[in-house]
């Protein structure tokens, strides 16, 4: 439907007031180089394009009267043809849908989407400004306006109610037949439209009729529209003429007209279809064309006679491109069909990462090609900001950084107005994505710092944009929102913040009140609770409107949620603010008050009961009086207050409330169930509630209502019930609770079985199984076995439960072990991989108990079975089998192990080649254990083979595997002597991969540590003579690790290693010196105070010239090495080097010297004192030091 769009775009340009500027760009690509581009357009006043379809949108319905055509029509209507192009039924564009899914708006709930209903408010006056009242709305105006809005909403509601009730008012009936030309009315004489279409159309009509009554008051609300006659009103007036299907969106903000102009200008740019540009027809024929027309032979090209001048000059006619070959494939047209072509290169901005259709609305101005020389300063400023913002929003990271910096640095010159007028509408854009929002919010944050109190007039606008962040799903968005608001309140000051936000407290829209309450809580945390308490008290007692009271209480609810236990000092004040609202006449206020008390109590826990003294009575009596949702909130508050009480009180108050709680056990309401469960677990946790009381009053009812199969099906209920049951078990004992649920493990419902197993697992793992008698023990084992065997989906929960029960029973499990082993063996042979995996996992969990029960023969039996299964194909299962083998080896010991280690290890060697992480981890662990404890069961050759396999492991992604491999090298080296292992490792230094080399270096370090450095050092130093950079670096790196590991032992090797380091430190290669420096650092730190100062000073002399390195890694290592030496030789010695350069004439010299000075100062300022230079100047001299007794 490219043509339609093009047509519409062009139509839009008719209503815009700058057609010339919009047309300049269309021929840009062609003739700008030849003819000066900014001359007036030659085609002004001409039709520049012929629409592809015969009729334009304007013409479409001309022939219709009352929706009927007078002329016969034998084709589908345009409306029918376009049916699936726009609106609700439009076919989804794959690319679009993917783009949309990244947008924030696409994952917002309906409630969160209500942020789009808010609009940026006009500027506010700053009463604290120096010149008193400057322009903008004052507090009084705003309050008045809110009043009007509320009244309006009230009337709307009344009208809606009456209409709903079908009162005898004259309703504004919509005629079905009307001659509105923009409406697709019923065409009686044609085939009825398809059903979906029909539904849609009626929906739309209904909608518009609903909105009709609103339209008038909206128009009355004049503050959004500037004075009549301004361009924005024109745009608005023009709007109704557009087709209703027109999807082009207007910029959301009217208060800031800037981006709109850009939008109009941009959308006016017509998209040319191929062949519609008439200018090419009138062009003179080019040589190439003539060549094509005439035969190559038989003609002669004559030279023009002398003095000839062409009469017709090609003016304003685009030249045909050289090499014109007749018909060209219309490429622009293709891109038209794909959607509008968007630039990625904006003049003055550079290459962007992306540029979206929506961006055109805001940044269109930048591509209109207007001349910047004849612009006012303000316009230039606007464009500058626009460019910077575009760079920040869509640019590459480095562009972003510099642009952000420029914006920050020049914030005060730009002024708050121009900045926020551009930033804020961008943030209101519907198609905003996370990254863009993050960046824009960052801009605001930075700019706020610089602008400080200049932001005051814009505080409300910023709040409108930022407040929705506070209820975003994304945690980081919420944090960002909080940060902005707290900075904002610090910049604008408390009084101004209150002044700005007060009118929103009783705003008629609940969404606004909610977000404002959250914002207020942030203000409280930024400026301190005490500053805000008097205001909040006044709001919570507002006589005028219950909305205000509600919001006030909500603020107090949000404060503890935000600040946690930091509210404790102000708890009393906060509770006093809201205590009266507990008996408010409005149920909603009572509810939110109870919730606020719950939040306060939760944050204060376990302190602060004295602050709640006054509300205990109203809360408890209130709970008796409430029903439904209000009761839920009261119970919630009760649940959070009870844990704060001491023993006596909690006992009394629990018994007071328990009756209601138990009554509500049977409530069908989910919310109520949640609250009740929470209250039960809170009550059972307090000291005042006795097990007897629970047993007598609570447990029966609890199990009757909550331990039913239905509960296991809903995830949230499931969790709650399990947690509460565990809490009850803490108080009333294991056998009491487990005895009640143990039979459920044999239930036919799998989810219910799982829920039971999980509960049993949690209870027994915290409380142990001492309480369980023989009968229950039998039932328990029986139950878990059933649950384990009857799984249809293998779940770790069951295995955990099984292992916990067996481990808790300990020696008492002996009688059941043969049965368990039989089941496990059978399941190891199962067809399903997950079953086998679970069986192997279970073995590794219960080996400890089995060995404690003297069931070693059984373990051996299992080990032999597992050994058989080492050929397992599934890596996950193989990993589990290896894990089980390892667990058995651990408890049985290497000697007693069957199959013997000398058979087992050769089987493991090929498995080491397996790439799967789980397999690798378990094998390496097993091999490492064998190497550590029983290296002599295997011959050295096998170990060498394993060494080679291990080298590959050094490349593993998982750190645990690399670490295990390194350790294993150490064990093997210890077992068979370092020489062979070292040779292998040194060879590995020659490989290409960096990670492999690094790990080899680490391994050499470990070998050196385990087998004493003197066994390794000679070979290592010898290897340094290999004239190959990688090897030498590898050697240095292993030396570095070695000295790090051996610590103080280093002192014996300092003099041996010094010549090597000497050589390395004066190498040409940077990395060489860098690595050498890290060796020096570790050596130096190893021999602090061990009398190696002379060597250290020698190394320092070699290190010092490297100070001027600029590469960050190199210089960091050098500085670290100098720090190390400073520790070894003492600060004053090194400071002698430093004094020379601190005030050197060249900054390049001063800079690194100050860096070293600062490091020394931070670490050992006191040690520098005696080393400070002695000044001759009398003022500067430190006379005290000359005192001598």
């Amino acid at each position: 439907m490219a043509g339609t769009q093009a047509g519409k775009k062009f139509k839009a340009s008719g209503s815009s007031d700058q057609p010339a500027s919009s047309k300049a760009s269309l021929s840009e690509a062609f003739d700008k180089n030849l003819y000066d581009g900014n001359g007036t357009d030659k085609f002004a006043g001409y039709e520049t394009s012929i629409a592809v379809r015969d009729e334009d949108d304007d013409m479409e319905d001309v022939g219709e009267i009352n929706g009927r055509r007078l002329v016969g029509q034998y084709t589908a209507t345009a409306a029918q043809l376009n049916e699936y192009a726009h609106g609700d039924t439009a076919e989804a564009d794959i690319l679009m849908s993917r783009e949309e899914s990244a947008q924030i708006a696409s994952r917002e709930t309906d409630y969160q989407k209500r942020r789009f209903d808010r609009r940026l408010s006009p500027q506010r006056a700053d009463p604290f400004a120096e010149n008193g009242e400057d322009e903008g709305m004052s507090y009084k105006d705003i309050m008045k306006e809110r009043e009007i809005e509320r009244e309006e909403a009230r009337i709307q509601k009344v009208i809606a109610d009456r209409e709903a009730k079908g009162g005898n008012e004259v309703l504004d009936h919509q005629p079905t037949l009307k001659d509105a030309k923009d409406d697709d009315a019923v065409n009686g004489d044609k085939t009825p439209p398809a059903p979906p279409r029909k539904r849609r159309r009626w929906d739309v009509v209904e909608e518009s009729s609903k909105e009709d009554p609103k339209a008038e008051p909206n128009a009355k609300k004049s503050r959004w529209s500037p004075t009549a006659g301004s361009p924005t009103t024109e745009v608005e007036a023009a709007a109704p003429a557009r087709s209703r299907w027109d999807t082009t969106v207007l910029a959301p903000s009217v208060a800031t007209p800037a981006p709109e102009g850009g939008m109009v200008a941009r959308s006016a740019m017509p998209n040319f279809a191929f062949g519609t540009d008439m200018s090419s027809r009138n062009a003179p024929l080019s040589d190439e064309q003539l060549d094509l027309m005439f035969p190559a032979t038989g003609y002669k090209v004559l030279d023009p006679p002398p003095g000839y001048e062409p009469i017709r000059k090609a003016i304003g006619v685009p030249q045909l491109p050289t090499g014109y070959q007749g018909f060209l494939l219309p490429e622009e047209n293709n891109s038209n069909m794909m959607g509008t072509k968007l630039p990625t290169d904006i003049p003055g901005v550079g290459d962007l990462q992306f540029f979206k259709t929506e961006d055109m609305k805001y940044f269109g101005k930048l591509v209109d090609g207007a001349d910047e020389t004849d612009m006012t300063v303000d316009e230039l400023k606007e464009r500058k900001i626009m460019r910077l913002l575009l760079k920040v929003k869509n640019g590459t990271p480095p562009m972003r950084k510099t642009a952000l910096r420029q914006l920050t640095d020049n914030a005060r010159q730009f002024g708050p107005g121009p900045l926020f007028n551009q930033i804020l509408p961008l943030l209101m854009e519907r198609s905003l994505e996370d990254q863009e929002r993050h960046l824009l919010v960052k801009v605001i944050d930075r700019v706020l710092y610089k602008l400080d109190d200049l932001v005051r007039p814009y505080v409300h606008k910023i709040l409108v944009v930022i407040e929705p962040l506070l209820i975003d799903q994304d945690y980081y968005a919420r944090v960002e929102g909080r940060e902005i608001i707290s900075n904002l309140s610090k910049a604008a000051g408390l009084a101004h913040m209150i002044g700005v936000m007060r009118p929103d407290l009783d705003h008629q829209d609940e969404y606004v009140r909610n977000t404002t309450a959250r914002a207020f809580a942030v203000v409280a945390s930024a400026l301190g609770i005490p500053a805000l308490v008097p205001f909040l008290r006044a709001v919570c007692r507002s006589k005028k409107s219950w909305h205000a009271r509600h919001t006030g209480v909500k603020v107090i609810q949000q404060i503890p949620i935000l600040m946690g236990c930091a509210i404790l000092p102000h708890l009393k004040g906060l509770v006093e603010c809201i205590e009266e609202n507990l008996n408010d006449e409005q149920p909603k206020v009572r509810m939110v008050t109870a919730l606020a008390l719950a939040a306060l109590a939760e944050a204060a826990s376990p302190y602060g009961i004295e602050s709640f003294d006054d509300i205990l009575n109203p809360l408890w009596t209130g709970a008796r009086r409430q029903r439904g949702k209000a009761l839920a909130s009261f119970l919630k508050a009760v649940g959070y207050v009870i844990p704060l009480m001491d023993e006596e009180y909690s006992n009394y108050y629990t018994s007071q409330i328990m009756e209601i709680v138990i009554r509500e056990f049977q409530s069908p309401d989910e919310e109520m169930k949640k609250v009740v469960l929470k209250v039960v677990s809170q009550c059972s946790g307090t000291a005042g509630v006795t097990p007897v009381y629970l047993k007598d009053n609570v447990l029966n009812e609890f199990f009757k209502h909550f331990w039913v199969r239905r509960m296991a099906l809903d995830k949230r209920n499931y969790r709650q019930v399990v947690d509460t049951t565990v809490d009850l078990a803490q108080k009333s004992g294991v056998s009491e609770i487990v005895g009640r649920i143990v039979l459920n493990m044999k239930d036919e419902n799998e989810a219910y079985r799982k829920m039971t197993v999980e509960t049993v697992d949690k209870i027994i793992s915290t409380l142990g199984a001492h309480d369980i008698d023989e009968r229950l023990e039998e039932q328990l084992i029986d139950g878990v076995l059933v649950a384990f065997q009857d799984q249809s989906v293998e779940d770790p929960i069951v295995i955990d439960g099984f292992a916990t029960v067996v481990n808790a029973l300990g020696e008492r499990a002996k009688t059941y072990l043969p049965q368990i082993v039989a089941i496990v063996l059978a399941r190891l042979n199962n067809k399903s991989a997950t079953v086998r995996q679970q069986a192997a996992d279970l073995i590794s969990r219960i080996t400890f108990v089995m060995s404690k029960c003297d069931e070693d023969p059984q373990l051996i039996k299992l080990a032999q079975a597992l050994y058989e299964y080492l050929g397992e194909e599934y890596p996950d299962v193989l990993g589990s089998i290896l894990g089980a083998l390892r667990a058995i080896v651990t408890v049985v010991g290497l000697q007693a192990m069957q199959p013997p280690i000398k058979d087992l290890l050769p089987r493991l060697t090929p498995i080491l080649k397996n790439r799967h992480e789980k397999v690798q981890e378990n094998t390496i662990d097993l091999v490492g254990r064998i190497a550590d404890r029983g290296a002599d069961y295997v011959n050295p050759r096998e170990w060498m083979r394993i060494c080679f396999e291990l080298l590959d492991m050094l490349k593993a992604h998982k750190k645990g595997i690399r670490r295990a491999a390194n350790n294993t090298f150490g064990y093997i080296a210890k077992a068979i002597g370092p020489q062979d292992v070292l040779a292998t490792l040194l060879n590995n230094l020659r490989v290409q991969e960096r990670q492999s080399r690094v790990c080899t270096a680490v391994a050499i370090g470990i070998v050196a540590e385990t087998c004493a450095p003197f066994t390794v050092l000679p070979a290592l130093m010898n290897e340094y003579r290999v004239p190959e950079l990688n090897v030498q670096n590898g050697v240095l790196k292993s030396l570095s690790f070695m000295f790090e590991y051996i610590g103080e032992m280093a002192k014996d090797y300092v003099y041996a290693i010094t010549p090597l380091l000497e050589d390395a430190l004066i190498d040409r290669d940077q990395v060489h010196r860098q690595t050498a420096a890290s060796v020096v650092k570790h050596v130096a730190l190893g021999c602090v105070g061990l009398d190696c100062e002379d060597a250290m000073i020698h190394l320092l002399n070699l290190l010092w010239p490297n100070l001027f390195e600029t590469s960050p890694h190199v210089i960091d290592r050098i500085i670290e090495a100098i720090d190390g030496i400073r520790n070894a030789v003492g600060t004053p010695v090194v400071m002698n080097y430093v004094w020379a350069g601190l005030f050197h004439p060249a900054r390049k010299v001063r800079q690194p010297y100050w860096r070293i000075y600062n490091d020394a100062y931070v670490q050992s300022a006191d040690a520098i004192v005696p080393a400070y230079p002695a000044f001759e100047d009398d003022e500067l001299k430190r006379h005290e030091l000359e005192i001598f007794i």
């Binding site: 600062n1158 100062y1161 003022e1179 430190r1182 005192i1187």
Partner: protein
């Protein structure tokens, strides 16, 4: 560029925490003032040192301490006149 910026920020935070640190723009006056203050606080912070100096000056330790503390105000005289 990014590294420079980060280095700058790190330096700023360092300076905020340790007033005695400097950079390539530190003047002689600033540096010598810091030296003097650090020295004085070091004397005060080491009681044997303070004792030794008090004996040398022939006054009580407390008096020496107070003297030292007071000398920390403009320890090397008035700041130099700025040109602009």
């Amino acid at each position: 560029m990014a590294d420079k910026l980060r280095a700058q920020q790190q330096l700023e935070s360092l300076q905020a925490r340790y007033i005695g640190t400097g950079n390539s723009d530190t003047t002689k006056f600033e540096w010598t003032s810091n030296i003097a203050r650090d020295s004085l606080s070091s004397y005060i912070g080491h009681p044997p040192m303070l004792q030794y100096m008090s004996i040398g000056l022939g006054q009580s330790r407390e008096r020496t301490r107070v003297q030292f503390l007071e000398r920390m105000i403009q320890p090397v005289g008035k700041p130099p006149e700025t040109q602009n």
